[in-house]
């Protein structure tokens, strides 16, 4: 009986250590997440602030960026947007819906082997310009397309 009790105590102590370890693991993963996620850019409410947080200045209009999206989207909750950049050495592509409460929708860092193309679906509250920002060789290029929204999707 006593032996059983001993082993039970040992077991629960082990389990306790495990829980502590998991908790510690969670904390570190949370910190790592905070480091990479560009909080100030994602939480800016004005396009100009977002651009500043992204470090994007001296934007150059480029015809080598193609935004593929419908002219009129009936459902603002699901607006398919694809961005193709033909600019060599494309490093990142960001997508902004200018009149959304938080304009920056997504930012994609493209590393070796990835092509300058991303496609996703975003929510849009109202008819607005969608801006793609491409970073290539340290310069920022941009293109704009207006998308009309019939029913907003930010509710």
């Amino acid at each position: 009986m006593n032996v059983l009790r001993r082993s039970f105590l040992k077991l629960s102590a082990g389990a306790g250590a495990l829980t502590a370890a998991t908790a510690a693991g969670l904390v570190t993963s949370g910190q790592a997440w905070a480091a990479t996620w560009n909080k100030s850019a994602f939480e800016s409410k004005a396009v100009a602030d977002t651009l500043k947080s992204l470090g994007a200045s001296n934007l150059i209009d480029s015809k080598d960026i193609v935004i593929t999206a419908p002219d009129i989207a009936e459902n603002g909750a699901v607006v398919p947007i694809a961005v193709t950049s033909k600019i060599p050495n494309t490093q990142s592509i960001s997508i902004l819906a200018e009149k959304n409460p938080f304009p920056l929708a997504a930012s994609f860092d493209i590393t070796s082997g990835g092509e300058g193309y991303v496609s996703t679906r975003v929510k849009m509250g109202q008819t607005s310009n969608v801006r793609a920002i491409v970073k290539a060789d340290g310069k920022f290029y941009t293109a704009v397309k207006e998308i009309k929204i019939t029913v907003g999707g930010c509710g």
Partner: protein, 106 residues
């Protein structure tokens, strides 16, 4: 709790066309439930796509990405049988990783 992703990678020449469908509520934090209370924000904030262990796309997302997000990308220099792995992390620290082999194109 995280549902598996649907990933398809097909070869077109030497470029793999990768399409990913994730299952996630993507709550904005501004929507109200039937009781009029705000539903807290819950969205995928980071997606990392690797090709044979090498990162090709590192995406940061906001709550403006649609529910059950779709992500499409192209990977250069891919061969049939290459491993494409996708990991997402949401703002509550939940994670999911799924892997798929590149299928030969038609």
């Amino acid at each position: 709790m995280a549902e598996p992703m649907k990933i398809r990678a097909t070869l077109q020449g030497d470029v793999a066309d990768v399409r990913i469908l994730m299952l996630h509520p993507m709550e904005t934090g501004t929507r109200k439930d039937s009781k009029g209370e705000l539903v807290p924000a819950h969205f995928i904030s980071s997606v990392i796509v690797t090709h044979n262990g090498k990162t090709v796309l590192d995406a940061q997302w906001s709550q403006a990405i649609s529910r059950n997000p779709f992500l499409g990308l192209r990977v250069k220099g891919a061969k049939a049988g290459d491993r494409i792995s996708v990991t997402w992390t949401d703002n509550k620290g939940d994670k999911r990783t799924d892997e798929v082999a590149v299928a030969a194109g038609s």
